[in-house]
Amino acid sequence: MSHQRREALYGLICISPWIIGFLVFTLGPIIASLLISLFRTDFLSTWDFVGGRNYSLMASDLLARKALGNTAYYAFAVVPLNTVIALGIAVLLNQGIKGQGFWRTIYYLPSVVSIVAVSMLWRWLYHPDIGLLNSILAVFGIQGPRWIYSEQWAMPSIIMMAAWGAGGAMLIFLAGLRGIPTELYEAAEIDGAGSIRKFFAVTIPMLTPTIFFNVVMSIIGSWQVFAQSFIMTEGGPNNATLTLVLYLYRKGFQQFYFGYAASLAWLLFGVVLIFVLIALRSATAWVHYERV
């Protein structure tokens, strides 16, 4: 056997675990999921073929609409908010401050903690009468809202909690900032640029690939928000924090409408795909891929 053919054979052997995994746990289930979404089924006694009924049902299902709207609210707030916060912290930490490792650790630590523990903790911080947040606000003479117990404030509460987890994106931004060649700053200085000008003319353009990466990851992650509302509010009050995945979980794994749950999953996938594609298409206009 020639060297090339041997290499090709070994290559296929090496990636075979992934091929099996992809067929069994990704491609197979994708096809199965499409089929299941055409049935009304509890996976036990009922397997009724209903065609596109699950999808037309979804269009008129007020709760599905509400879940879609709530999740959009969350995603449209969290993606820009976390990107700006993460970028802001990263830029501050990149100014050659002393003890950078220490500060980085503090900002990153919330990101390694389980979302269940985080949600339990924030539920307590949001306690309307004796919680940390309202007691801090009271110091300034502000009567805080009822946070997760208020229909109006529940979703903003979950969004604020998400900002606490901006540390992951911050670390990626820090790595990106390190990669900007200092020559560019020197050249800008020689041209007479001040620090604000340097930030917008050098830092931001050179960081656009990192911003793009973080925005795409954040879009994918934020549309899948689930545990936060499941633990803090159980979707309430009055379904104000009912998200798509929480609704999918309820329909499928609590009420056993698996066909409907599968079609909800496709709605989620469609929405994520649309926004990722928009990000990808817009990338040519604003992402700066020039390597120095």
């Binding site: 992934w18 992809f22 199965a32």
Partner: protein, 297 residues
Amino acid sequence: MTSNGAVIRTDRPQVRRFRFLRRPKDFALRCLLYVAVMIGAVAFAIPFYWMVRTAVMPGREVYSWPPVWIPSEIQLQHFAAPFRAWPFERWFLNSGIVATLTVLGVVTSASIVGYGFACLRFRGRDQLFLIVLASMILPQQVVLVPTYLLFVRLGWNNTFLPLIVPVWLGPPFFIFLLRQFFMTIPREMLEAAYIDGCSPLGTYFRIALPLSLPALGVCAIFAFTFAWNDFLYPLIYLTRIDLYTVAIGLRLLQGMLGRNIQALMAAATLGALPTILLFFIAQRYFVQGIVITGVKG
């Protein structure tokens, strides 16, 4: 004011960028920077402090208004409450088993697959790798319902197998991470091994694997954290309380101990501790791993 600085060379480029701060009027700006970083850090750290404070303070102080910031004494009895009512230690063991087997699966399978994608040439390789990348974008909820059907039919509910088996078959994120690492091994090094009579697998074990140990460490830490914190999969597949992991166990505690906020905060502290400790022990790898995924992604 700017051109003279360009000649100064220091080994800390990020300091050099802001040498204008050495001027006296910018000393104030520098102070402002530290104040901003510190205020932010306090805001990020306070929730942790509040959690531990609530767990250890005497009961009468928890509900006092205005709130007590520094407990008058430290009591540890609330850390025992979760163990008294539920098999909390068992949940730690379960999470530990799941996380360890996940780490082993990631390290073995993603490493060999990543090597195949990075170091061996075969037709269709780059197209297949594009599929790996695309599957990272797919929300796991799309495959949730059919894989549930599959695992239930296999009789795998109330076992750890649904949480572990997929990880042993090439998880895309880790394949991506390790492939990026293996790409940095010079081709000449691998060819030298071929010429000396090594098979591609021999090259993997003798050259690629030893070189990749730091990257494998990164994967191990990430995999442990993901597995420890995973919520949706254990929630769906584990219904027997003695099989619970810490993540879903905490949720059960919240339902049961809802009134006893001190025991809840003690339980949350204990549940959060393993990943926090791991982060402190392996901080360097953590940061490095994010550099690999972020910059090259």
